[in-house]
Amino acid sequence: MSRLAGRFAELAKEGRAGLVTYVMAGDPDAAQAQAILDGLPAAGADVIELGLPFSDPMADGPAIQAAALRALKAGASTRSALGQLKKFREKDQTTPVVLMGYYNPIYIYGAEKFCKDAAAAGADGLIVVDLPPEEDAELRPYAKTAGLDLVRLATPTTDDKRLPIVLEGASGFLYYVAVLGVTGTRSAVTDEVSAAVARFRKTTKLPIAVGFGIKTPDGAAAIARNADACVVGSALVQQVIEGPAAEAAGRVHGLVKALAGAVRAARAKRTA
């Protein structure tokens, strides 16, 4: 069983949703980024999304755009992101890590070599934001050979006619983008998300993670009542610049703890 499948099975057994935390590789610098990543599991992250920095992240809002540019300015690259993951894996062999980014750096790295190197570094899956099902045949076979799940995105614009196209070939989990818009801007509306999750459950057995627009412990708890996992990214990345750079990891982990507590208590609260 893959690390991702194993983790979602454990979560189901525990009867709770997971917390997926997104951080940007190399942000704000190599050392702090490593400290941020390494401390996520202890702070309560169940799954980690590690952002690959890209100069033109057109599906991301201001917080993640700024994080990518900070990382690039500090010398980060696709290669250094894999190096950061490799170091993480020296200490943690159980927490699933999904690499999330845009296609151009992967294409330039070489799709086949990237999948091979990512798997060797300890990645479990890939999310490539600008590679929809119509175009991902150029990456999918290599991901499969390397044993990486290729996570597909569903959005409020993914209707029932389109959903099967998204699900065909999806693996790991289904990532539901809960708002129309870029990361970290609008807030997800709980009722609409519940309805969408219920709709997806009818057509797929994949775990459903919900992201975009979840900013606070309360917001995370609301999503965690129905979804299999909730994803928080922009709010965490924003913590990096909320104080001295040397203390960035402490701030990020502080928010992860609060989010994890809320997510773990979410269903208990409902039954109480």
Binding site: M58, T78, Y102, N104, P105, Y107, P132, E135, R162, L180
Partner: protein, 403 residues
């Protein structure tokens, strides 16, 4: 290489020109891109759509634009006979409105009430703001903060036309960042918004659709040159940033194998300086803004900033069909520097009484380079795709004249 029956049959049903093009967009946009494609496919087959477009092109834009035999320029260069396709005489002063008119008619067929656009030099922004004013639709134009500073007259023009101009400070504050921001807006407002892309780039169907709308340039040229000369030209020349004016001139001639085509990229300070906007000559294939095409980037696939005196050519990519035409060698891609463009600007102003925009001044620089060595019966048609009024401040600065 496989022998093609036609160079004009692309793209395939998935929007690919060879390995280029495609639909590399986020899932949120995918259904909308497919909707635009369906709507355009239907409009393309609908004679009433074409009739409506023709009406506005004739009576509002002022088409057909003249084909002008530039006799004094020809004499000054002393070689090939040079014709200028005068698309700078269109309403709003550039070829951009050809595609804006087509797209806004499509947006209305689709029931969209709000229009967004990106702009570099401001010509596409002005053309978009113009058609929005004409049809009473709300208009938001994204423009890099750097470009806003160097194209003040066009910014003011857009505002006078009722558009909201949103400065983009993210990234490098130029055209590529404006396009990122327009895509972000579109993702957030998919239900009511139509994105009028200004060039033959972006996700399918945009490269095909913008090309189709701009092809009116080449179709008219064909008819006009037959009228003057009774034969097709020997060579077509146009500048390229994204490449819409070049695609519009070239496409109707692609299957005429005796018609050569040169497209001129902006070499900025020089191709060997790294400060240029020549994606084909200085870049390599990658994926950005919805399509695979030649891009300027570093070894990690991070997009580089482009450099050109002309804001309209200052883009690190190029339309995917150009990438394909480059690889199959149907079109010859060359370059002209900032300095070359300034010299050409001065040349045309004094020989023909026409101030060209800095974009086609690059094409003219190439004309001036090759024409003297060619025989007098060699026919060149150059697309004069924009007028230079917007550039007088840039030129003044370059020439040390304070306006």
């Amino acid at each position: 290489m496989t022998q093609l029956n036609s160079y004009r049959s692309g793209p395939d049903e998935r929007g690919h020109f060879g390995i280029f093009g495609g639909r590399y967009v986020s899932e949120t946009l995918m259904p909308l891109i497919l909707e635009v494609e369906r709507a355009y496919t239907a409009a393309r087959k609908d004679p009433s759509f074409q009739k409506e477009l023709d009406y506005y092109l004739a009576h509002y834009v002022g088409r057909p634009s003249p084909l002008w035999l530039a006799e004094r320029l020809t004499k000054a260069l002393g070689g090939a006979k040079i014709y200028l396709k005068r698309d700078e005489l269109n309403h709003t002063g550039a070829h951009k409105i050809n595609s804006c008119m087509g797209q806004i008619l499509l947006a209305q067929r689709m029931g969209k009430k709000r229009i967004i656009a990106e702009t570099g030099a401001g010509q596409h922004g002005v053309a978009t703001a113009t058609v929005c004013a004409l049809f009473g639709l709300s208009c938001t134009v994204y423009m890099g903060a750097t470009d806003i500073a160097r194209q003040a007259p066009n910014v003011f023009r857009m505002k006078l036309l009722g558009a909201e101009v949103k400065p983009v400070t993210s990234g490098t504050g130029t055209l590529k960042d404006a396009m990122n921001e327009a895509l972000r807006d579109w993702v957030a407002n998919v239900e009511n918004t139509y994105y009028i892309i200004g060039t033959v780039a972006g996700p399918h169907p945009y490269p095909m659709m913008v090309r189709d709308f701009q092809s009116v340039i080449g179709r008219e040229t064909r008819e006009q040159i037959m009228g003057f000369e009774g034969r097709l030209p020997d060579k077509l020349i146009a500048c390229i940033g994204g490449g819409s004016n070049a695609m519009g001139l070239f496409h109707p001639f692609l299957d005429d194998k005796d018609v050569a085509m040169d497209a001129v990229e902006a070499a900025g300070l020089g191709l060997d300086t790294g400060k240029h906007a020549a994606s084909l000559q200085g870049g390599r294939p990658g994926v950005l803004h919805g399509n695979r095409t030649y891009l300027l980037m570093n070894e990690d696939g991070q997009i580089d900033e482009a450099h050109s005196i002309s804001a309209g050519l200052d883009y690190p990519g190029i339309g995917p069909e150009h990438s394909w035409l480059h690889e199959i060698k149907r079109v010859n891609y060359v370059a002209a520097t900032d300095d070359d463009a300034i010299e050409a600007f001065k040349l045309l102003s004094r020989t023909e009484g026409i101030l060209p925009a800095l974009e086609p001044a690059h094409a003219l620089a190439h004309v001036a380079r090759i024409a003297p060595k060619l025989p007098k019966d060699y026919l060149i048609v150059m697309n004069l795709c924009g007028r230079g009024d917007k550039d007088i401040f840039t030129i003044g600065e370059r020439l040390g004249v304070k306006l």
